[in-house]
């Protein structure tokens, strides 16, 4: 019996096991999935918790519910991978051998990376990237009397790079609806030079921040946070004071990757950007947030990668050459509040551009422009996620590789074609 082991039963791991159980004959292949818990959160839902639209319970289901029959599911902490002996060492002392390994252990926030951040943790400093953090922030926002809310990105890359922008837009919209916008200043602090990494989207999103009177502080790298004086301090000496700090702390891969001695400086696994195989080990593959790839850390990316990774894993098993098919495709809805959202679609080479999606001209979804349809798309996506995406079903009309048709680069756009 040959053995495939998948580390992580989040978005990437679950999609992969659903694909692969169908493709690998049960009499030849045993599949084991290992995760530290059995809680699958619909992570795009975290954004909605602080504003009272969702609770933790609304977006939580057991991981086991989404795994197919004929798969062993082990819930325990992984100590490390031992690639030399093709074994995964579990913290309970067991060893699990593999012929092929898929790493899908994701990324997590690490507030301890920034001196001072934990001093005011969940008192005046909050995150919304964990279910507990998002709920604590919901309680805080309910009683927030007014003052300065700083929405802060500590360091890139982060999961879902648009989430902090969405948070700022949502904050603005909610405060307006309750007639309290004039009591609160919203400041957006980022280590980037603009609202987003890519020029066209950065300009569109930057203009929206300005329109909503959200002040942007750019090129800001926090050296430390002075929780007692309530201010973030940049390496260059600049300071941004806050009454409430909503931060996206440094994101890193699993500590298990570091214990295995396999990670980069962010504990991400060096991965071939096109084949999704580990750069170092022939029988190890990776997808989703756990990789070091220069594309978004987002569920849509894990989904697109899964279609390519299935084929490449099967090719590797058959001794065939891998196909360099992954193009960095990412697709996400940017929630604006007030029933509107922006949709962006991009890859390694093509930044988010205006146009129509998924079909040229008729769309129906407009790209890089706020619309009600995109907002409904975002809400509907929760259903798509649980019922189609995790189960490895194809999402109609949205291929794994990005489609240029329907996109148009503005004539006066910054950047330029690559």
């Amino acid at each position: 019996m040959r053995k495939l082991v998948i580390l992580g039963a989040g978005t990437g791991g679950t999609v992969m096991v659903n694909h692969l159980r169908k493709r690998l004959p049960r009499e030849e292949w045993a599949i084991t999935v290992i995760d530290r818990d059995n809680e699958h959160y619909y992570q795009p839902g975290f954004l909605f918790i602080p504003f009272g639209f969702y609770t933790k319970k609304t977006i939580l289901k057991p991981k086991s519910k989404f795994l197919p029959k004929g798969v062993e599911f082990v819930v325990t902490e992984i100590d490390r991978i031992n690639p030399g002996s093709n074994e995964v060492i579990l913290q309970d002392g067991r060893n699990v051998g593999y012929d092929y390994l898929i790493v899908a252990t994701g990324a997590e926030i690490v507030p301890s990376e920034t001196p001072g951040m934990l001093d005011g943790w969940r008192e005046t400093i909050f995150d919304f990237y964990t279910p507990d953090g998002a709920e604590a922030l919901a309680a805080k926002l309910k009683t927030f009397p007014g003052g300065t809310i700083v929405v802060h990105v500590n360091e890139t890359p982060i999961k879902c790079p648009v989430a902090p922008l969405e948070f700022a837009f949502f904050c603005d919209a909610c405060l307006r609806r309750h007639g309290k916008r004039d009591k609160v200043e919203i400041v957006y602090v980022t280590p980037l030079s603009g609202a987003f990494t890519k020029p066209v989207a950065s300009q569109v999103l930057g203009n929206l921040l300005e329109k909503k009177k959200i002040r942007m502080v750019t090129d800001f790298n926090a050296e430390h946070i002075d929780a007692a004086a309530r201010k973030i301090v940049c390496y260059d000496g600049r300071e941004v004071p806050y009454d409430l700090l909503v931060t996206v702390p440094t994101n890193m891969g699993s500590e298990m990757i570091e214990r295995s001695g396999m990670g980069d400086e962010f504990r991400f696994l060096p991965t071939d950007p096109n084949t999704l195989r580990s750069k170092k080990y022939e029988n190890i593959f990776a997808l989703g947030d756990a990789t070091d790839l220069p594309t978004s850390k987002a569920g849509s990316v894990a989904h697109f990668q899964s279609e390519i990774l299935v084929e490449n894993l099967l090719r590797a098993i058959e001794g065939k050459e891998l196909k360099p098919d992954f193009d960095g495709h990412s697709n996400c809805f940017v929630e604006m509040g007030r029933g509107k959202a922006i949709l962006i679609d991009f890859n390694y080479d093509t930044e988010p551009l205006p146009g129509r999606f998924p079909f040229p001209v008729i769309g129906p979804m407009p790209l890089l422009k706020p619309s009600r349809l995109n907002h409904w798309g975002k809400l509907a996506f929760r259903w798509v996620y649980w019922h189609m995406l995790l189960r490895g079903r194809k999402i109609p009309f949205v291929p794994a590789r990005m489609n240029m048709a329907g996109k148009k680069r503005p004539d006066n756009a910054p950047g330029g074609l690559k």
């Binding site: 360091e155 890139t156 890359p157 790079p161 280590p191 980037l192 030079s193 987003f196 990494t197 890519k198 090129d219 790298n221 050296e223 390496y235 260059d236 980069d264 400086e265 962010f266 220069p294 594309t295 978004s296 850390k297 990412s330 991009f346 910054p414 950047g415 330029g416």
Partner: protein, 105 residues
């Protein structure tokens, strides 16, 4: 494609002045770019950073993050800000003749 003159040398640059062809880079151009960026003279500590960035770029196809510079033991982030005030990685990349670091999306 825009071009820029440094002394007698003409180099290809992008809209923001980053070199698009590393083979055109010289130490003289680096010093000239540094002056434009407000760094009067490149000392040994500057060069150490510039050379490390070029090595990393050659190996990985992208400029290293601040975290990587810090972890590699080349320079602390605080010192990096003192050497290249403002956006240190962007400035150092420009001086090193590399394309603008994009950060990840």
């Amino acid at each position: 494609m825009p071009q820029k003159n440094y002394g007698a040398t003409t180099v290809d640059v992008d809209a923001e002045g980053y070199l698009t062809d590393f083979s055109q880079w010289t130490r003289e151009i680096a010093s000239a770019v540094a002056r434009e960026e407000g760094i009067a003279e490149l000392g040994p500590a500057h060069w150490k950073v510039v050379e490390f960035m070029q090595k990393e770029f050659k190996e990985n196809g992208q400029a290293p993050s601040i975290r990587r510079l810090n972890k590699s033991g080349v320079i602390t982030t605080k010192e990096l800000y003192e050497l290249f005030p403002g956006g240190p990685v962007k400035k150092a990349a420009k001086i090193a003749g590399l394309k603008k670091p994009e950060g990840c999306v």
